[in-house]
């Protein structure tokens, strides 16, 4: 887990959204927003390329059993610690002769599962609490503020370590530990977005027409908050993947023999002087995944940004 990733997007000062079109229905507003964003996004070649790469990697991860040449725990005692290019083992093998390419493919699967799982879990909680805090205020807001205070004061990393000790090292437990440590930021973001959107004409119009609170929140506010949330998620997923890698280095990541990028890096780091390929593959793969997510996130942010900060 990198220590630098805890900058709260909600706290980043920026000029308030000023351009405000005439009152239209919130849903239509959101839809057109999406269309414009997509048009802009498509023009960003780097972001588009990242999206394609990530989509390809996700497909690879999903069909891992079909394309991996071996199972991830299938040993080959005749070819232990083989170098790259060995017959039958394109990227080489580890101490037990397990095929590194296969393990890399399966580790993508685990890391994506952790990344998406943790962000999704965090997102769900964040949306509910953030919306309520922003829309209703009162108890939900106080609760969010209190939890935020505590979570900001709690070293996230210790939190994850203790959570894994308590919950165990299954994929689900690791996802939960990371999600718990990361939902607060997103909840704050949702709240901030909600507060801004509440002042928009279309929300006020809906309110004036007597629509119930839940409807307004879900039909008018939420769709329009999707942009910033999408940006947050696209930065949150790589953060969760990095967090798992950090836990793995402490020996607390997803339990072996299930490979994860962090787990493979942890294995590889001890062979760095003797069999560096064991470190190089997962490290490069991790860097590619993180890079792609960063560029994708940049692309999404620029696409949704109405102030014209995009390049």
């Amino acid at each position: 887990m990198t220590e630098t990733d805890r900058i709260d997007p909600a706290e980043r000062p920026g000029p308030p959204d000023s351009s405000e079109p005439a009152a239209t229905a919130g849903a239509a507003q959101a839809q057109s927003q999406f269309r414009r964003a997509w048009t802009r996004f498509r023009r960003n070649k780097l972001a588009l390329a990242s999206l394609v790469i990530l989509a390809a990697l996700i497909v690879v991860a999903m069909i891992a059993p079909l394309i991996a040449p071996y199972g991830f725990e299938e040993p080959d005692y005749e070819n232990t610690l083989a170098g790259p290019g060995t017959a039958g083992h394109l990227l080489g093998t580890d101490l037990l002769g397990r095929d590194l390419l296969s393990r890399l493919i399966y580790s993508l699967r685990t890391s994506f599962l952790v990344g998406f799982g943790a962000e999704l879990a965090a997102l769900l909680v964040a949306i509910v609490i953030g919306l309520m805090a922003g829309y209703r205020g009162g108890r939900a807001e106080q609760l969010l503020m209190a939890v935020t205070d505590v979570m900001f004061a709690f070293p996230t990393y210790l939190f994850a370590v203790l959570m894994v000790a308590v919950l165990g090292r299954s994929v689900g437990a690791v996802i939960l530990a990371i999600a718990i440590a990361s939902w607060v930021n997103m909840a704050r973001l949702t709240r901030a977005q909600t507060l801004t959107l509440m002042q928009r004409d279309f929300v006020e119009a809906a309110r004036a027409m007597g629509a119930p609170g839940v409807t307004i929140a879900v039909r008018y506010v939420l769709p329009n908050a999707v942009g910033p949330l999408l940006v947050a998620v696209s930065f949150g997923i790589p953060a969760a993947i990095t967090a798992e890698a950090g836990l793995a280095l402490l020996g607390l990541g997803v339990q072996p023999p299930t490979p994860s990028l962090g787990g493979m890096i942890q294995d590889g780091i001890s062979y760095v002087t003797s069999y560096p390929n064991m470190l190089v593959w997962p490290a490069v793969m991790l860097a590619v995944v993180l890079l792609a997510f960063t560029w994708l996130g940049d692309g999404i942010r620029d696409a949704f940004d109405t102030t014209g900060t995009r390049r």
Binding site: L95, L96, L252, Q255
Partner: protein, 587 residues
């Protein structure tokens, strides 16, 4: 509307100056004293002989509390009554220059040498030893009254009433079999003859401490400024998690054989990877190679003259987990699993790993014919006899571990292939591991662990995989549950608890485990190690046949040693070597 504003320039500059100054100030004090010159080392031009080595950061240097630090105490800070010889197989004179044992083998009298003295010039007396041992044996004490670590006293010494005093059943220290009969004469009374007694005295727990210093500084006596010890070296500097510096004790009785002018120990924090880069970069002269680094150095022609191995230093094992599922209570099943572990495969994976065929290391056991070969056909037969032909109907097994170990993955693979038995590795956090391995599991299986092998027969029987442990492991699951309840029962007084536990073991431990206990006890009552060995060999054989602990591999400890380091005797003991006698010659 937004108003442009400017920060007062002067305040910015002032802030910068203050920040820089503060940084410079803190930089002066945050580093260690740093008076040691790192360029002076083996083969350096300077005449000073400095040995630069590594150790895990000691949590404490108190020899009465189990920690990494107690081995540094033994390496050269303190000196006990006797010290180990170069191979660790016997003892030599230390602070005591003579000793004798009574005919029945239970009373040992040690005569301290006249010139034994503390680093502050005080003479080392028998009373100092007595005071130290009372501190050692005081329950929950260690003098300071607030230490929480495990007490380091070695029960296997068998000093009369010592364990009882430690447990609280005997409250008068005068009843313990240690007596200072004169200023320079210390007498031990044992429960029974003990062939391992002399070697046992070389354990750090039996080192003398300087009473006056400890009384003055109950907690801070391990700080360099308060340090007083009687060994060849004294503590000069201790920067935690970084470095410890030892310098010769000028008042040591045998300064002639102390050659090093300084010992510089780089301290590695727990969890910190120990990288041989420090050796390559000429920062240390002597360090242990751990884990996968063996691949770059062992069998590398460039380093052949710089690698020294302590052969078969560690033994890895699988120990039976208590389970509500009784499948592993059948010894045939355990034997079958042991016979098909795939040890040869594991040993072939990396250099310096040998197959363990017995719980006694091969260098002790081989000449006595101990050990068993793996035999798939026999394993399949045994499993079929037990009612699980080709593993049919056999429940899934769990292998509990706190770190990834290749032998577990190999076992899972081999059991599946040869016996049709499925197993999974359960790699958990350390705290989970310590709790789970002794609790009763739903899934049958084993936990993985490793011990340092013992270089003599007495320890190989009475310390590691000792009789009490074997009996405890042979208890059926439900009795084990009751046994643990008694252990955790704080209302029981210590004596009552001990006897209840004994009764449970007597009533429920397996016949084999009890036979092992009896043979071990028989051997231990022999006057010397030679006479005892015959019984110990038989005992070891009985113990191996219990299959409660399955031996897996024997692993060498490899050390990188800079050419020019002389007089280094690496032993299989946890302290590895003594600083005394080591010298550094120019190349």
């Amino acid at each position: 509307m937004a108003v442009p504003h400017t920060m007062p320039k002067r305040s910015v500059q002032a802030a910068a100056v203050v920040a820089t100054a503060a940084l410079a100030l803190s930089a002066c004090s945050i580093f260690g004293d740093g008076d040691t010159d790192p360029t002076v080392g083996a083969g350096g031009e300077n005449d000073a002989q400095v040995l630069r080595t590594t150790w895990s950061n000691p949590e404490s240097l108190d020899p009465h509390v189990i920690s990494n630090g107690i081995w540094i105490d033994q390496q050269g800070l303190f000196e006990g009554l006797v010290v180990q010889n170069s191979t660790g197989s016997d003892v030599e004179a230390g602070t005591a220059d003579e000793w004798e044992v009574s005919e029945d083998g239970t009373v040992w009298t040690f005569h301290l040498r006249d010139d034994a003295s503390w680093s502050n010039g005080d003479a080392v007396t028998a009373q100092d030893f007595l005071w130290t041992y009372e501190r050692l044996l005081t329950p929950g004490g260690s003098g300071a009254g607030n230490t929480t670590g495990a007490n380091s006293y070695q029960v296997a010494l068998g000093i009369a009433n010592a364990s009882e005093f430690l447990a609280g059943t005997v409250t008068d220290f005068a009843e313990v079999g240690i007596e200072a009969s004169a200023d320079d004469q210390l007498v031990f009374t044992l429960d029974a003859p003990n062939p391992g007694f002399l070697l046992g005295l070389t354990h750090p727990s039996m080192l003398p401490l300087h009473p006056a210093t400890l009384e003055e500084f109950p907690q801070e006596w391990t700080e360099p400024e308060n340090w007083v010890s009687n060994g060849p070296f004294v503590l000069d500097e201790w920067q935690r998690n970084v470095e410890m510096t030892l310098v010769p004790n000028e008042n040591y009785w045998d300064t002639e054989n102390v050659h090093l002018d300084e010992v510089e120990i780089q301290l590695y924090a727990s969890g910190e990877p120990v990288s041989p880069v420090a050796y390559d970069n000429d920062e240390v002269d002597l360090m242990q190679l751990v884990g996968e680094d063996v691949f770059s150095y062992v069998d590398n022609p460039e380093f052949t003259d710089q690698i020294r191995a302590v052969e078969q230093r560690n033994i890895t094992y699988l120990a039976l987990l208590r389970s509500t599922n009784p499948v592993l209570e059948d010894v045939r099943v355990r034997e079958a699993l042991s016979l098909a572990l795939g040890r040869e495969i594991v040993a072939g994976l990396q250099p310096g790993v040998a197959v363990a065929r017995s719980l006694v290391p091969e260098y002790l056991g081989a000449e006595h014919g101990l050990g068993q070969d793996e035999d798939i056909a026999r394993a399949q037969e045994l499993l079929a006899d037990a009612g699980y032909h080709d593993g049919e109907g056999f429940p899934e097994l769990m292998l509990l571990t706190e770190a990834p170990r290749p032998e577990l993955d190999v076992a899972v693979d081999q059991w599946a292939e040869n016996l049709g038995v499925t197993a999974t590795v359960n790699n958990v956090e350390r705290g989970v591991y310590v709790e789970e391995r002794w609790s009763i599991q739903d899934t049958p299986g084993f936990y993985s662990g490793s011990f340092i092998t013992r270089t003599n027969w007495n320890d190989a029987i009475n310390t590691t995989f000792n009789p009490r442990t074997m009996e405890e492991f042979s208890l059926p699951a439900e009795v084990w549950e009751e046994y643990q309840e008694v252990q955790a029962d704080e209302d029981l007084d210590p004596g009552e608890r001990a006897s209840q536990l004994q009764a449970l073991r007597d009533a429920h431990a397996s016949a084999g485990a009890q036979e092992f206990t009896a043979l071990a006890a028989e051997g231990s009552s022999q006057p010397d190690l030679e006479a005892a060995t015959g019984y110990f060999v038989d005992a070891a054989e009985v113990r191996d046949d219990l299959y409660l602990y399955l031996p897996v591999t024997l692993i060498d400890a490899n050390y990188l040693v800079r050419p020019g380091v002389e007089g280094l005797n690496l032993r299989g003991t946890p302290d590895v070597y003594y600083f005394k006698g080591v010298s550094i010659t120019g190349e």
